[in-house]
Symmetry: C2
Subunit: 351 residues, 2 copies
């Protein structure tokens, strides 16, 4: 057979076969956009030639010439398919996939962006790799804010999944409304009669955590009259949680509120080890869930992140950004969180 490094057919080849100019081929391929009009007959001839030759537009050329390539980028600093916490990104990605598919877009995962070190970066050797795609959705936790600021300065079209305040730039995002969810969670436990609330707060100052805090504080303020005490302890790491739970138990709180699911699970275990029953003796709630299955553990009453919807909405916002680049205002959506009622909340014990 021919062993030559298969040369792909170009617009010129198609044009030659269909006896039209490359420009016409371009117009046909792109749904007669660009002010050029082509008769149905001609279009059919072009399509036939395209089919015969197996022509496919060259992404790079398209991008270079200014057109779009219908590729939505997805960038994460960590592995998209982690070995532990396998399902971490799944629901976000499912939403992104669904919406991208709906719009006829492909998804480009920037896995080849590891610079010098082990870490991925947007600017590989000073080059913004994301440019391969029309725009990108940015996911994940452990970010390089410097780089993100640069990305915004570059005016690269991107949307974050989750709220982000990037210095010097107006980031677009599809976020979860952790603030109101946290507030509703406070409503919920106060309605159950809790008057002494213990709070274990992450030391990390991520927007998602700041929002939880704001909502929690607002909720407590609203129930100021009903609540006797709120003890807030900051956990520098997950390892510290167990100790803090013991402290709160000693302070006689009837309900422990954690930032995330893992901390809530730890709280339950620690309390049980102290001989307390959940929820009879101590209630526990989380202001953030874990995407995986709880695998056997007692289902925690928790705020649910609308991951799938966030993914979908991020793609939608990005599409808007691309469709109207003249409008430079940030696109922002804040989506409602649900509360999942597990089995870890009951009325406080009577003494």
């Amino acid at each position: 057979m021919d062993a030559q490094p298969r040369k792909r057919p170009t617009q010129a080849d198609v044009g030659r076969l269909a006896r039209v100019s490359p420009a016409v081929v371009s117009a046909v391929v792109n749904g007669r956009g660009g002010g050029v009009r082509v008769s149905d007959q001609t279009a059919d001839r072009v399509w036939e030639a395209i089919r015969q030759l197996g022509y496919v537009p060259n992404v790079a050329a398209r991008t270079l010439a200014g057109g779009r390539n219908n590729i939505v980028g997805v960038f994460t600093y960590e592995a998209v398919f982690p070995t532990e916490a396998k399902s971490f990104y799944h629901d976000f990605l499912a939403g992104i996939e669904e919406e991208a598919e709906e719009r006829g877009c492909h998804i480009l995962l920037f896995t080849g962006s590891r610079g010098e070190g082990r870490r991925r970066s947007i600017y590989k050797d000073g080059v913004n790799t994301l440019q391969l795609a029309d725009g990108a959705v940015l996911l994940g936790q452990d970010e390089d804010r410097e780089e993100l600021a640069e990305l915004l300065r570059d005016r690269y079209p991107c949307v974050f999944v989750g709220r982000r305040e990037i210095a010097g730039g107006d980031a677009s995002y599809a976020a979860a409304d952790y603030a109101s969810a946290a507030q509703r969670m406070v409503d919920f436990i106060v309605e159950h009669g809790h008057r002494r609330i213990g709070r274990i707060q992450s030391a990390w100052r991520h927007e998602a955590l700041i929002d939880r805090e704001a909502g929690f504080v607002a909720g407590c303020r609203r129930h100021d009259a009903a609540i006797d005490s709120v003890d807030t302890l900051v956990a520098p790491s997950g390892d510290a949680v167990a100790n803090l739970v013991r402290i709160l138990i000693d302070q006689q709180v009837s309900c422990v509120v954690t930032d995330d699911h893992a901390a809530a699970v730890t709280a339950c275990r620690t309390a049980r080890a102290r001989g307390l029953r959940i929820p009879e003796d101590l209630s526990v709630v989380a202001l953030g869930d874990y995407p995986g299955d709880d695998a056997g553990d007692q289902p925690i009453t928790t705020v649910i992140t609308p991951r799938r919807q966030m993914g979908m909405e991020a793609v939608r916002l990005l599409a808007g950004l691309l469709d109207d680049p003249a409008d430079t205002r940030p696109r922002r959506t804040v989506l409602d969180c649900g509360l999942r009622l597990g089995t870890t909340v009951a009325a406080p014990p009577r003494h």
Copy 2:
């Protein structure tokens, strides 16, 4: 601020500032590659200009001028991130990601390839969408073999995850060695003393299932002297399994061998409903595992598909294909499967 659609500095701009030609800038940026040599003085001047202007190479232009784009495609007919069976593709993708990252490649998920119908297809409007990438890894079960045959005819560089015999083409693949694994599984149960074996076989004639069958049959033949009987029943669907299990129980088999994990779980449940204990009264093994967690069920003794390795190997094979396109022979690797020893096998009961 300026609302203009972000215009970035180019090599030409840098060259103008540094008083050199664009070609020199290119050489400097790319570490003096391309046969062009530049004096250190000049290089410094260029770097200084780059810094001043904040120059960043344009990826699309680079790709266009260069050839390959370092994008590995991944194609599946179904959603890559399914709502049910969430983890179905995870391990494969993790392997693909790991190897792609190692090679500085990005991953393109062909999600925008839905043609007329609801289904994805490689040839959208008669056009091979996969050509957006340098080559592709093909995943999944429910395929369009016609289309795949066409893909091979097109000589598009692609590698399947799992063995495939495509009519009229030599498909490259990274497969699992189900045949030897099945054979070893037969060894295993015979060594445990099983003499009357019941087999529930899927009616589906996928390569992966054909391989299991071949291995199972070979294993039984090898132990011909030891085995009293092998009853093989074909299950047209998963729903039929329970009934077939009852038949096998009536026929006094001491071990049931299924093709997949789900059928094995059904077998266990059905047997238990009949008052049999697993494994004391009946042993059950599966020749294929399920990637998710077994969530509470008794761990099945099963063949393990090396998903991660298959994903990695597929990318490696693809890289080989791309690096040496002159060599048109198919690239094929068959990877060992492990056996997971669950708690569903014991010596057969004595009567």
